[in-house]
């Protein structure tokens, strides 16, 4: 067993919990929408959102699954926010994501994120051995309502 596989195996079951220090805020929605180039008025126009059954604008759905806004800390030399624990110590590449959305996220939601390492496994393909890490994140608001779930698969090369 490679050292990396050994190291990663020990992370299975580890949970890291982050509590955002403030409400997510409407400007976060607009900034994400701008980065994607997605000017859907559901994310920016309260009257439009209300005319389609929401109490206010909603977050672009995938924002919560990719933002680190809820981590209240400094960054390291690689540009990663400090405090991600076992989730942020290694440079991996993304194999894929599965998102599940349970309700729209509004600007006054205060996010709690619970990340858990679910699985580590090794696969041998044409380019040699790869180690896969499956991590699940569940996102809640201040009323402990489940907002979204992100199941993320990253991969690592043992020789790296």
């Amino acid at each position: 067993m490679s050292d990396l596989l050994d190291t990663l195996k020990k992370t299975v079951g580890q949970e890291v919990v982050f509590q955002a220090p403030e409400e997510i805020g409407r400007s976060a929605f607009r900034q994400y929408a701008l980065a994607i180039g997605d000017f859907n008025p559901m994310y920016s126009d309260p009257e439009f959102a209300q005319s389609h059954g929401l109490r206010d604008v909603m977050a672009p759905p995938t924002l919560i699954c990719d933002t680190w806004q809820y981590i209240d800390g400094d960054m390291d030399d690689r540009g990663g926010l400090i405090g991600r624990g076992a989730l942020g110590e290694l440079n991996g590449l993304r194999a894929g994501n599965e998102y599940e959305f349970f309700q729209p996220i509004h600007s006054d939601d205060v996010i709690t994120a619970r990340w858990t390492v679910k699985d580590i496994y090794e696969r041998t393909g044409r380019s040699g051995s790869l180690i896969f890490q499956v991590v699940e994140a569940n996102f809640y608001n201040q009323r402990e309502e489940l907002l979204a779930r992100n199941t993320e698969t990253m991969f690592y090369r043992p020789e790296a």
């Binding site: 980065a35 559901m42 959102a49 672009p60 995938t62 680190w68 981590i71 998102y99 959305f101």
Partner: protein
């Protein structure tokens, strides 16, 4: 921009989503990193990524999820709620690439929560390589189950 309202009663298996084209540039990549509080140098620092063996800074794979969501939501309209989105990243996306996101309806069904539509999605670069494949979405439409017409 949302221009139409759909309901799942007039959606059929085989319907194609209007393709969405995205030109990838460093400025948009930088904007995405800032918007997600993700400052990792992989996505903007050319010297840093060359030392790690990559040709150039590359797109955060989750940005593709944002593009696929736009593809789906623009087609489905503002009354539809995206319940699930899944995607596998296959080919690294670099600045200068032009991506085209595609989708096709694979299933229409009735559930307690509404009319449910499943789509198969994918994204190609300018070389015809599928950078995301497979991918899928599950969309909920606010329609009473008894009003849903399901084509067999």
């Amino acid at each position: 921009m949302v221009t139409q309202v759909r309901n799942s009663g007039n959606i059929q298996v085989g319907d194609e989503l209007t393709p969405l084209i995205k030109e990838i540039g460093m400025a948009r990549m930088m904007a995405y990193g800032a918007a997600t509080w993700d400052f990792v140098r992989l996505h903007y620092d050319a010297d840093y990524v060359r030392d790690l063996g990559f040709d150039a800074p590359f797109v955060d794979g989750q940005m593709l999820g944002g593009f696929l969501t736009q593809l789906v939501q623009d087609w489905a309209g503002p009354d539809a709620f995206l319940r699930k989105l899944a995607f596998r990243n296959r080919v690294i996306v670099y600045p200068g690439d032009t991506l085209t996101c595609h989708g096709v309806v694979t299933a229409v069904s009735a559930a307690d929560e509404g009319g449910m539509v499943e789509c198969e999605l994918w994204a190609e670069n300018q070389h015809g390589e599928r950078v995301v494949d497979p991918a899928s979405a599950l969309i909920r439409f606010p329609i009473a189950a008894e009003n849903l017409r399901i084509d067999k």
